[in-house]
């Protein structure tokens, strides 16, 4: 389908493309191992977060939590804010984002262009400062509506109802699903759907491993796990460092022509790991992974060129996923 009544109706339905050059070669006579990329950068604002934003706003409208003219408040480091800003604009709401200073300038420009207001929390204080800022703002404005993507079931449901069915329709032979672990919505929703429909499906998480400065934790008891997270949906979980994420992001554009953000590189790293294991074990595999967004918003980091060490340095202390 190529005609839609509005931009919101054009959300989802993204292409799944094969990666013949990045897929590992298998010995003669061995079953095929193939990689497939779900191009979520083809959503209205260019990221997978459009799905969650649309579902969360609709759910809040249906529950009577959101009425025309209301203000939505969301702490976000980027893509969710951009998606919510677009949905809010088209549905008649005001959006206020709370975000750290250390995100790329493109994200800030995009948010403002879509009409969001931004309140910054100082990067220097790490998450402790972000917590303090977010607490203060939310206490000062009890009438604002927080959709809270980390605990909002509509976030995971968006993927249960759309991403999962799309994947199964386009790749009935899917054996592995690999996605990034942030709010955990993509993995929980898509993972649950695929587990119900595909026997033996492997649901694999790739989480970005940042420098410790980003967290600013003082105590091990201060950790955080999103309410949406249910470990029983996953089969495996990989931690991917900045260097591997950058390496794979560059490989994806050099070899297959797909220009993606760094979180996608982290996901591809995990996808390649399971693909190579399948080759080693002589098993057939159709590994589908998520391309979360395009690389445009990250060009200013300079991490697409130069040496890997330079790129790692450029992303140090940044929230690249």
């Amino acid at each position: 389908m190529a005609r839609y009544d509005s931009l919101l109706d054009a959300c989802g339905g993204t292409p799944l493309v094969g990666l013949p050059r990045l897929s590992p070669t298998v010995p003669d006579g061995a079953p095929p191992v193939r990689l497939w990329a779900k191009l979520e950068d083809r959503n209205p604002t260019g990221s997978i977060k459009d799905r969650a934003a649309l579902f969360m706003v609709r759910a809040a409208e249906q529950a009577g939590r959101l009425r025309p003219g209301d203000t939505i408040l969301e702490p976000t480091s980027g893509n969710t804010g951009i998606s919510l800003a677009m949905v809010a604009k088209l549905r008649g709401y005001r959006l206020v984002c709370v975000m750290p200073e250390n995100v790329s300038t493109e994200r800030i420009q995009l948010l403002r262009m879509y009409g969001a207001e931004i309140i910054f929390s100082p990067a220097a204080g790490g998450s402790n400062q972000a917590v303090a800022t977010a607490k203060q703002i939310s206490a000062d404005h009890p009438d604002w509506v927080m959709l809270y993507q980390y605990g909002n079931e509509a976030n995971a449901r968006a993927h249960y109802e759309t991403t999962g069915p799309e994947l199964l329709h386009d790749l009935p032979t899917i054996t592995h699903f690999v996605a990034g672990l942030g709010t955990t919505g993509t993995l929980m929703g898509t993972g649950r759907f695929l587990r119900e429909k595909v026997e033996g499906i492997q649901v694999v998480a790739a989480e970005p491993r940042y420098g410790e400065l980003v967290y600013g934790l003082r105590n091990i008891d201060e950790g955080y796990v999103p309410e949406l997270y249910d470990a029983t949906v996953l089969n495996r979980r990989f931690s991917v460092g900045t260097r591997d994420a950058v390496l794979r992001t560059r490989q994806l554009v050099e070899v297959e022509g797909i220009f993606a953000g760094f979180s996608t590189g982290a996901i591809l790293h995990a996808a390649l790991a399971v693909a190579h294991e399948a080759v080693r074990d002589g098993r057939r595999a159709d590994v589908a992974f998520v391309v979360c967004d395009g690389g445009w918003k990250y060009l200013s980091t300079g991490a697409y060129g130069g040496t890997l060490a330079d790129a790692e340095g450029a992303l140090e202390g940044q929230l690249w996923a």
């Binding site: 408040l73 998450s127 009890p142 809270y148 970005p208 940042y210 091990i220 470990a231 931690s239």
Partner: protein, 131 residues
Amino acid sequence: MAIEVRIPTILRSYTGGAKVVEGAGDTLNDLLTDLDSRHAGLKARLVTDAGALHRFVNVYVNDEDVRFLGALDAKLSDGDSVTVLPAVAGGAFGFAAAAAISQHRAATAAFSQRRATAASVAARRAAVAPR
């Protein structure tokens, strides 16, 4: 048998400030017991009294989460690399969002109550107002 273990900043008080320490063991539990013999108190920060990994601690063997490899029973081999990290899925901002929503729920409840009280006062006034 030598296994390299990366320690996060917030636990380096147990390792004399060392970022990387070495240990031995056939399983993660054995490794942590071995480490604890030289870095007393470290194991208690990672493992609960009930004998499970602490909720806010993630341990990775060669970059893979041990909770999916048998947790404390995960098998280790010479040359493996073990990384201990605080659990902060969702990044720093998941953390902030969680704090904000708890604060917000409290504020919203108070706001709703004030509004309800104001509404009922207004209703009572309207009821007794002379026509």
